[in-house]
């Protein structure tokens, strides 16, 4: 078992390495190679790693602490809330940027998740209702975002596309590195306290009987997830389904249930999947770029549907 796991870790790192090399060198104009890599491709790669890892970690944690295999920042509306928060604070020029990242997005994410928890505690308790409530919140936040952008932003509706479909090319090296730092710190937190996440695997009723505080763990997890999702969205817009697909594949693929391994695997594979999707989105329609969020959604939507149908048929997920 140990040897097998080690092999799977190695495969994960190898895929991430190949994805990174592709991101740096695929269709590179070698005449200006060093400038292109330093100025454009390296920050984009680092941001891709940070956002991919951050979103899939957020998906994993949300699925666990909300006991819902369909949960992720996109389907629960948290990403839309973050986009709204970031867009509003950015155009009001009230939000201070910290290392080029917009903390307004964190408040947007937190606001949506707390509204969702209120709705869930009022009866939308089963996984499907929770997703339905999340989709509604997401629609409301996206519509408010579109209205806000049309009225308040001089570039109007065009920049809505950035928020709704995501783009990894908009930020420089400093925000990308800051983002990576935050994801590593939050990832380490969940790794160290992975036992507490394990206690959630047996349903809410049982969490306390494992000696884990339900409320405390859930609140801390949600605040940390909102921090990560908020920053990811403020740097790269909304990139959907990474948080759904990666934890699902990792749970199935490695066949280990411990968060001690689920956390690092989700980080590695989330980073690899987003970097690969981004290289694909960048080079497929050259000279034009495809929106990376559209590519991840095309990969993620079938996985979501498969999970949803399996749940509806009463099978295990």
């Amino acid at each position: 078992m140990r040897g097998e796991l080690r092999k799977k870790y190695l495969i994960g790192f190898a895929v991430l390495l190949v994805a990174s090399l592709l991101a740096l060198f695929l269709r590179l104009d070698f005449k200006n190679a060093s400038v292109l890599i330093q100025e454009l491709r390296l920050p984009r790669l680092i941001l891709g790693i940070a956002v991919g890892a951050g979103l899939s970690l957020s998906g994993l944690v949300l699925q666990t602490v909300m006991s819902n295999p369909l949960a992720e920042p996109y389907t629960l509306g948290i990403a839309s809330g973050a986009a709204l928060g970031a867009a509003v604070t950015a155009s009001l020029k009230t939000g201070t940027l910290i290392f080029g990242l917009n903390p307004g997005a964190i408040f947007g994410a937190l606001a949506v998740i707390f509204i969702l928890i209120r709705l869930v505690s009022r009866g939308a308790g089963n996984p499907e209702s929770m997703i339905l409530a999340g989709v509604m919140l997401s629609l409301v936040a996206s519509s408010l975002l579109a209205i806000w952008m049309a009225l308040a932003d001089p570039h109007g509706v065009q920049s809505v596309n950035f928020w709704l479909l995501g783009d990894l090319s908009r930020v420089g090296m400093v925000p990308a590195l800051a983002m990576l730092g935050v994801v590593i710190l939050v990832g380490s937190w969940f790794f160290v306290f992975s036992r507490n996440l394990d206690a959630f695997l047996f349903g809410d009723e049982m969490v306390e009987s494992f000696g884990v505080s339900l409320e405390q763990t859930r609140k801390i997890s949600i605040v940390l997830v909102s921090l990560v999702v908020g920053l990811c969205v403020s740097a790269a817009g909304m990139i959907g389904f990474v948080g759904l697909v990666v934890p699902h594949l990792v749970r199935k693929w490695i066949g280990v249930r411990r968060h001690f391994h689920l956390v690092p695997f989700s980080l590695i594979w989330g980073a690899a999947l987003l970097v690969l999707s981004d290289s694909f989105a960048r080079s497929l329609g050259e000279p034009r770029e495809l929106p990376v969020g559209a590519v991840t959604a095309l990969i993620g939507a079938p996985v979501f549907l498969q999970l949803f149908l399996r749940k509806a048929r009463g099978g295990v997920s």
């Binding site: 695997l201 494992f210 339900l214 295990v316």
Partner: protein
């Protein structure tokens, strides 16, 4: 072991679910709790365990002299007292072995995964006593409700708290399993564990309990040793439509009820 004084539970609307209640349970005792639906059994058991589901709890519960409310650390509390209900669901794919091992790991609070030799021995002895070996590789979600209750009870025993509170945990068990549960509870009780068990099966409670409490509309109707509590008068007070007969089993010498 357990001492509750003026314990009272109210619902969110302010309705009293359990009227002020005093209780004392010695160590190495099985306390059975019996009463009609809505008589306050679950409220009482949850309040004793300090479960977060209880809306408003007044009075004090001491476990080994330590007030439960002071056990704010969930890990300390779960080592002393563990509450188990009757309905178990998990949205994730987990085998019974995962359940046992992850349970031990989560409860231990250790950073690195893995379980100690003594924990592994305890797990083997419970798995053997409850004949659960063939269940270890099975997925928990695919088990029947009764099997889930049986497996969850095993998991709680493996965790070895000082007090185990079982709130209708055996409501869907078959006869063979009920007998296995009775045996293991009696033997673990002699080794130092204390149990509080609620059930609608009076014959099971009579077989397993040292002490019995009858609850009606949130109040204790009777309490004490099984022989003094389990009688036709008390049963008629509890249920108006039943004409019960209490007999003494010639094999076990325990009281049985016919109706």
């Amino acid at each position: 072991m357990i001492r509750a004084s003026r314990l009272e539970v109210k619902s969110t609307e302010g309705r009293t679910l359990l009227h002020p209640f005093d209780l004392e349970v010695e160590a190495k005792t099985v306390l059975g709790v019996f009463g009609p639906n809505g008589s306050g059994k679950s409220s009482m058991l949850r309040a004793i365990a300090g479960e977060p589901g209880v809306v408003s709890r007044l009075g004090e519960v001491l476990i080994e002299g330590v007030p439960v409310r002071l056990l704010s650390n969930a890990r300390d509390r779960s080592r002393r007292i563990l509450y188990l209900g009757s309905d178990f669901r998990s949205p994730f794919e987990l085998t019974v072995r995962d359940l046992f091992e992850l349970g031990l790991e989560a409860a231990s609070g250790r950073l690195w995964p893995g379980i100690s030799t003594s924990e592994r021995e305890r797990m083997s002895s419970v798995v053997e006593a409850l004949e659960l070996i063939s269940y270890l590789p099975r997925f928990f979600q695919t088990l029947s409700d009764g099997e889930k209750q049986y497996v969850m009870f095993a998991r709680a025993l493996i965790q070895a708290p000082k007090v185990l509170i079982l709130d209708e945990t055996f409501s869907k068990l078959d006869l063979d399993r009920l007998i296995a549960v009775t045996r293991i509870i009696r033997s673990w009780c002699e080794c130092g564990m204390t149990f509080v068990i609620s059930s609608h099966d009076l014959n099971f409670l009579s077989e397993i309990s040292d002490q019995l409490v009858f609850l009606k509309q949130g109040r204790a109707l009777a309490g004490g040793p099984v022989d003094s509590v389990l009688n036709e008068t008390n049963l008629r007070d509890l249920f108006s439509k039943v004409a019960p007969h209490v007999i003494t089993s010639p094999e076990s010498g325990k009281r049985k009820i016919l109706y």
